[in-house]
Amino acid sequence: MADKYMELVNSGITKKLATLLGLPRPPRLRRYSPDAPLLPGPVLVLGASSKAQDLSDTLVAWGLDVRRHDAGDAKLGGLVLLLDELEHPTELSPLMLAAGQALRKLLPGGRVVAFSRPASDDDAPELSAVCQGIDGIVRSMGREMRGGATANGIVLAQGTSVASPSALAALRFFFSGRSAYVDGQFLSVRTNDGVLPADFAKPLAGKVAVVTGAARGIGAAIAKTLSRDGAQVVVVDMPAAGESLAKVANSIGATALQLDVTAQDAAQQIMDHAIGRHGSLDLVIHNAGITRDKLLANMDAGRWDSVIAVNIASQLRMNEAFLAAKLPGLRIVSLASTSGIAGNRGQTNYAASKGGVIGMVHASAKLFAENGGSIAAVAPGFIETEMTAKIPLGTRTVARMVLPSLMQGGLPVDVAEAISFLGSDAAAGLNGQVLRVCGQSLVGA
């Protein structure tokens, strides 16, 4: 349905009609393919930063057409705003006005990425004001963008710079089609950890990755994406889902492990399989999850307890076992949800579990870092899956088109791209991150 509508409002006579009637016209998003260029056109780098030249050199090395200060009449594929050395809100004016002019030249699928410093309670009020102000700027720009273009930010913690490995990795992620459904979001570079991949098309080369809940939907998309990015994948799902699990495994050369993640020995079984059969365990994607929606007034123990058991308690138990095993460099990426951030009617149990994932990630970052690893979460918004296809058409149309800046639901692959990125070695400096993949939905922070 969404595809048909999108097709009609974006082509031929029906496009003119839709424009005339002022119907929402959800743009076709620029999604990743290993052969596609990083950006649809030249990139303009605005702003002063001590590492600006280093950054420009890197962008040139990435094969981009880089402009400083002014792009002339050229259409732009990307815009980088270096705002990390501003100290007072009054300094924003010239840069932002120049950025505004540049936006007029931005191509469909273009990207705006702003670098800034984190607002801190310990900083001077002027500095904290400008830093927090940039947060508002990026989110507002996201709302103003058209044609599937997005605006996102990279926040550089003390001691890091635009040249830090994870800052560059985040920039590349935002530039590429991998971030198609990420809009108005920030990635925080916390350390200088991280190693950029030898081959950007295979960031997970040589890694052994386990994906739970991989038999269908978002889990299957994650498995396929990790495999495309070079990982040897182990797909895990409930024994009863084994038939579709085998299909996913056989489509990507993975091995299938039929396992209930709530089993007490689930982590041990995962480690035994990954290490015994593939030699190591480098990445675990906690994707398995269920919904048992009911208004809290009508909630029963069965619905509440099963959601908590599958969506969060199992992850806590498995992580404890992974930590105890001291697997070197183990990275974890968990599935949170915008319901866990903004809440959702009928989902107190689900929101408890998904908010729980976010809390778990924040509190586990140091623990995984001790063995050279990391943990992160992705919070999807409205994603088009078999599950959401069951939502009534009217509600679904509103949820997918009207609420998010990108005027459409995301695809499972959009979530998968973010997970693959956060699970890569290049993202080590982003440890503890929770990234929303929601098309800048109105709900949530």
Binding site: P239, A240, A241, G242, E243, L245, A246, K247, A249, N250, G253, A254, T255, A256, L257, Q258, L259, D260, A263, G276, R277, H278, G279
Partner: protein, 431 residues
């Protein structure tokens, strides 16, 4: 007989689809669909995508003529390298045992490094043939050159010729069903109704418990919406089983003891077992669950009443034990296929019987009793069902896993088959 210098054949693992009672979950699935599904689950479990396996062997008891190359066609529909050779095997209900045993021998001899053996059967999509009379007329028609000859052939057609010939499980030489044959044996050995019902109940309880503890998580892959054997009755009781009326040997009157509860139902399903040399398993980081030590086939003359139809495994076991210098008590698991509860109990009783062991098996002393707590510990065919050719693969994979879990010991497997045949095998844990 001295052991020739051969290498070990190891069982790496297995996969089957859940078994379904005839005309239930798999009513629209063909033998090829089901065996392909069993292969695909095996490929997924062991990461065999695109791999060239040494050979795939298996078969079906009830087979359409169009499925003359059933196993090869299944391989072509799978994710295995299509350069994997495959062939059909047929030995009634012992098809899976014979296929896997022969593959193990080839591995031992160094002719194969890896192999997949198994079987499949459906009675929901059974081949229905035209009557012999109609077939004769149709053949004559196809040979006829002139219109006159064609008309002459067609003129022979009678309405009665149109009745289809459905395959049965009856023995061609006696006309008796397998159940009626077993009923004779069951009576001869004095097996009581209660003993048969107890064995059936244990089968259901053991299989249900095995599912509950996740034993089948790496042995079964769901198919067509079914994730467990649908013949399993976890809540079965002696009382419920006791209420069933006799289904076989009805001519025995009050002495009839065999019911639908203590006999296997017609079942659809498929199984596949991955075997290899130790080198193959090590090179591919694959587990080694158990060694396939030996297997032996036997056949008896049931036609003239000299022996019961399903008693051949009793003979095969005696020969295999002697060859391996083992006694019947040297095993940690006994997997005796439950075609009928009466089959298992008659076999056990025969092994304990001095006269049978002396007269029939030519032994000085009876093979003796087994520890019944080691018999079919995770359930067998009475609970799981019995898709004829798929049963061997089911038992071999499960038994190998049991030995692996125990970490030591030996298992005896016994499968009876139509035509008065049977195949038995020894598996051994890897130390």
């Amino acid at each position: 007989m001295s052991q020739p210098s051969v290498r070990n054949a190891v069982i790496i693992g297995g996969n089957r689809i859940p078994f379904a009672r005839s005309n239930t979950a798999y009513v629209n699935a063909s033998n090829q669909d089901m065996f392909t599904a069993a292969l695909e689950g095996l490929v997924a479990r062991f990461g065999l995508q695109g791999q060239r396996i040494g050979a795939v062997a298996g078969g079906a008891v009830l087979k359409h003529s169009k499925n003359f190359n059933l196993i090869r066609e299944s391989v072509l529909g799978s994710s295995l390298d299509h350069a994997t050779p495959a062939y059909d095997v047929q030995m009634a209900c012992a098809t899976g045992m014979e296929a896997i045993g022969s593959l193990a021998n080839k591995i031992k001899l160094g002719q194969l490094d890896s192999a997949i053996g198994g079987g499949v059967d459906t009675t929901s999509d059974a081949p229905i043939a035209v009557s012999d009379a109609l077939r004769g007329i149709l053949m004559e028609l196809s040979r006829a050159r002139s219109t006159k000859a064609k008309l002459a052939a067609l003129a022979k057609l009678r309405p009665g010729h149109l009745a289809p010939a459905a395959p049965g499980t009856g023995e061609p030489r006696t006309g008796l069903s397998m159940g009626d044959h077993q009923a004779i044996t069951t009576k001869k050995w004095g097996i009581t109704r209660e003993a048969q019902d107890e064995l059936a109940l244990a089968s259901h309880q053991n299989l249900a418990a095995a599912y509950d503890r996740g034993f089948f998580n790496d042995l079964v892959t769901p198919f067509n919406g079914l994730s467990k054997d649908n013949n399993l009755r976890a809540d079965s009781t002696m009382e419920k089983l006791g209420k069933l009326k006799p289904a076989f040997g009805k001519n025995l009157g009050d002495a009839a003891t065999m019911t639908a509860g203590n006999s296997t139902p017609l079942t659809d399903g498929a199984s596949a077992v991955l075997l290899g040399s130790e080198e193959y398993a090590q090179a591919n980081d694959l587990p080694m669950l158990a060694n396939f030590v030996d297997f032996e086939a036997a056949a008896v003359d049931f036609v003239h009443g000299a022996e019961g139809l399903l008693m051949a495994p009793a003979y095969a076991t005696a020969r295999m034990l002697e060859r391996n210098n083992l006694t019947l008590q040297d095993f940690d698991f006994y997997e005796i296929h439950e075609a009928f509860a009466g089959t298992v109990l008659s076999t056990l009783k025969a092994w304990e019987d001095e006269e049978f062991c002396r007269e029939k098996l030519g032994l000085d002393a009876p093979l003796g009793a087994i520890d019944r707590s080691k018999l079919n510990v995770n359930g067998s065919s009475l609970a799981a069902g019995h898709p004829f050719a798929a049963t061997g693969g089911r038992i071999i994979a499960s038994t190998a896993k049991m030995l692996h879990e125990k970490g030591s010991g030996r298992a005896l497997i016994s499968v009876c088959a139509a035509g008065g045949q049977g195949v038995v095998a020894i598996l051994e844990a890897r130390s």
